[in-house]
Amino acid sequence: MDLPKRKTDIGPPNYRDFLPPVISKNYGDWKYHEVLSPGVMVHHAGSGEKIWTVRVASPRLLSTDTVRELADIADKYCGGYLRFTTRNNVEFLVSDEAMLCPLQLELNDKKYMIGGIGPRISNIVHTQGWVHCHSAATDASGLVKALMDEFADYFTTKELPNKVRLAVACCTNMCGAVHCSDIALVAIHRKAPKVNHDSVKNTCELPSTIAACPTGAISPDSSKKSVKINDDKCMYCGNCFTVCSCLEINNPDFDGVAIVAGGKVGSLRSDPKFSRLVVPFIKNNPPRWPEVVEAVSNILDAYAAGAKKHERVGEWIERIGWEKFFRITGLKFTYQHIDDFTIARETFRTSAAFKW
């Protein structure tokens, strides 16, 4: 097949060519919106015009078949206009109110999950995992599927005190927004990398490898033209592996998932927050990671029961205090929870006021 002529540096297409006419017309002139159901909302423009949005869940990893199906549905009900959200859901942009109901019926028929709008669980931001990344210490897609099956009702119907943003990162590079999520999973290692000395000298830049280590655990092994790792200093972060493939960090017997919680990115009510460690480790147990699902459910239930309306997970925890969080969730507090990294001392409790 003949190839067309390539162009370079043209950049992406212009978004203006992809907007539904009602959006083009009312661009920047929206007045308010109403959430009509967990998966449907309507935005009102100054002109009086409206745009309806119907949101469905997506596993993010799609086949072209499915994308074509989405396109077909969009053609049928919304002039071919649709978008993806920043959390990888699909939004059908409906300009004709009459289409709302038939669209939803067809989506239901085709087993799409409609929902995710409002104070509930939306899609889980996640990354490649075993599907595509060399660095993965778990699979992201599998975890997401297992969790979302469990929390499906929170997507389609049930409410929570506020949005709960879940995320999964398959290694500590954290390509998701795990570090600022309400509840998130991050895969970790628990054994120092094994150095494949023979390859190091042909494959790795020693200074970069040494500089990659946050704890200074790596030093040159000049006799071998390689590096050596001080096991006592290594905290298994895997950054050295990122720059030097000969430092094998994967270790199926010891790899698994940590749970962090209490982060957020918006500035509403309280400043953006980092997620904090709540469960240091759960072994990988594919295909459905039941222990992880249970632990997340436990936290979610406690939040649902304890938080005030509009409180995010982190706001709730900060109000009741981490000590109470650990008590009511029954999660074990371990040495791993106590920070010993760069800003450790800022996390120590420098107060005589706390709960039992």
């Binding site: 959200t85 920043t86 075993w130």
Partner: protein
């Protein structure tokens, strides 16, 4: 038994209400060998609890240093379909808007040259075309670029900027996030395609402090819309919310972080001077409350994932900047920022890490931004600080 599945573990993940990525891979595998081997290798990963991808991979297209993530299976004999399985990062559309035709176009190309699997979208915001071989890269690129699509960033380059839906469908957008991102992406094509930075650089734009794109947590430069002015209160809409059962005192007033609201049971008063524009009240009473006044953005810098010094959130650099096309003031600032980074950044040192390492003063002086209390949560605590000769003269 011939009915036994080759992928018993993954099959488990076809059960349950949430759409299954396994079903997606299977759909692709039905007509694509690469996808089939992806499926099989993944099953093995599930069995062995480990990935089977080789480290790294350096492939690409001519004239570009970025846009492709090289990937090779570590079991190429067993899974030849994924011996090469590179991803192509296609620069998505501002706001992630598509037409059905454009999606079909993407699918057609990808079915012809790749695995038939894709992510809508990757975390940075690219269309991630998941898996093709080295020799297919040029064809893929030719097909896409000739149809108006270009590659996104990877490597030590500007990464694909992205934004929230903003003014396209949101009443709270203070800036035109879509246009800003489109304009910047066009302007900095070279920075995106030919890596020349010390490390990656990400830009994300949110229309307001709600930050639906997570800009503050994962962009070396975070643009967040805001306004200088006040909040217009429509008291009859307030009354309507109350009537419909909203407990305005508990849900709004008590949660206002600055305590600048008073509700007397009938009307809602905001002491605008004390409002920090956190967006809580506005987001909960969108019909009643509206930002008014000069619109613009806060420019923040420095957020990133945990390596090497721990995760950072972006912090305020310029408290307020007007952002109107052609965005010259912002672009000039960005170039100064890159110049500074270029001059002082070490290999694999993100901008935020650099500024933390060398201190804000030098950076502010270099990029020409004045110190202001908006840049800090609080002033320093320890009485150790630098003086320059010009400080003495100033006094």
């Amino acid at each position: 038994m011939s009915t036994e599945s080759d992928t018993p573990l993954l099959d488990e993940l076809e059960k349950g209400p949430f759409p299954s990525f396994v079903s997606e891979i299977k759909k692709a595998a039905a007509k694509n060998k690469m996808a089939l081997d992806e499926l099989k290798q993944l099953e093995k990963s599930y069995r062995d609890k480990r990935g089977y991808w080789k480290h790294g991979g350096i492939v690409g297209i001519r004239g570009y240093g970025s846009g492709i993530i090289g990937r090779h299976s570590s079991l190429p004999q067993e899974f030849p379909g994924v011996a090469d399985f590179h991803t192509v990062r296609v620069n998505s559309v501002s706001g992630f808007f598509y037409t059905s035709d454009s999606l079909r176009q993407i699918c057609d190309i990808w079915d012809r040259h790749g695995s038939g699997l894709l992510n809508m979208h990757g975390s940075t915001g690219d269309i991630i075309l998941l898996g093709t071989s080295t020799e297919k890269l040029e064809p893929v690129f030719a097909e896409f670029s000739s149809r108006g699509w270009d590659l996104g960033g990877s490597g030590s380059s500007l990464r694909t900027p992205s934004c929230c839906i903003g003014p396209a469908r949101c009443e709270w957008a203070n800036i035109d996030t879509l246009d800003i991102i489109y304009n910047l992406t066009q302007e900095f094509q070279d920075e995106m395609h030919r890596p020349a930075f010390p490390y990656k650089f990400k830009i994300k734009a949110a229309g307001c402090a709600v930050d639906c794109i997570g800009a503050i947590a994962r962009a070396d430069c975070s643009i967040i819309g805001t306004w200088r002015g006040h909040i217009v209160v429509d008291q009859s809409a307030v009354a309507e919310y109350a009537k419909q059962g909203m407990d305005i005192q508990a849900e709004i007033v008590n949660l206002c972080p600055t305590g600048c609201m008073v509700y007397d049971g009938r009307e809602l008063y905001i002491n605008d001077e004390d409002c920090s524009r956190c967006m809580h009240c506005i987001s909960r009473m969108t019909k009643a409350l509206r930002p008014a006044g000069e619109k613009g953005a806060t420019i923040l810098i420095g957020s990133k994932a945990p390596f090497v010094i721990g995760a950072t959130l972006s912090w305020v650099l310029v408290p307020f900047m007007k952002l109107e096309p052609p965005y010259d003031e912002f672009k000039a600032l960005l170039k100064k920022i890159w110049e500074y980074w270029d001059e002082h950044g070490k290999n694999r040192e993100r901008l935020g890490e650099l500024v933390i390492r060398r201190g804000m003063r030098e950076f502010l002086e270099f990029v020409g931004v004045k110190p202001s209390p908006q840049q800090v949560k609080e002033p320093r605590r320890d009485p150790f600080f630098y003086w320059k000769d010009e400080d003495f003269r100033r006094q």
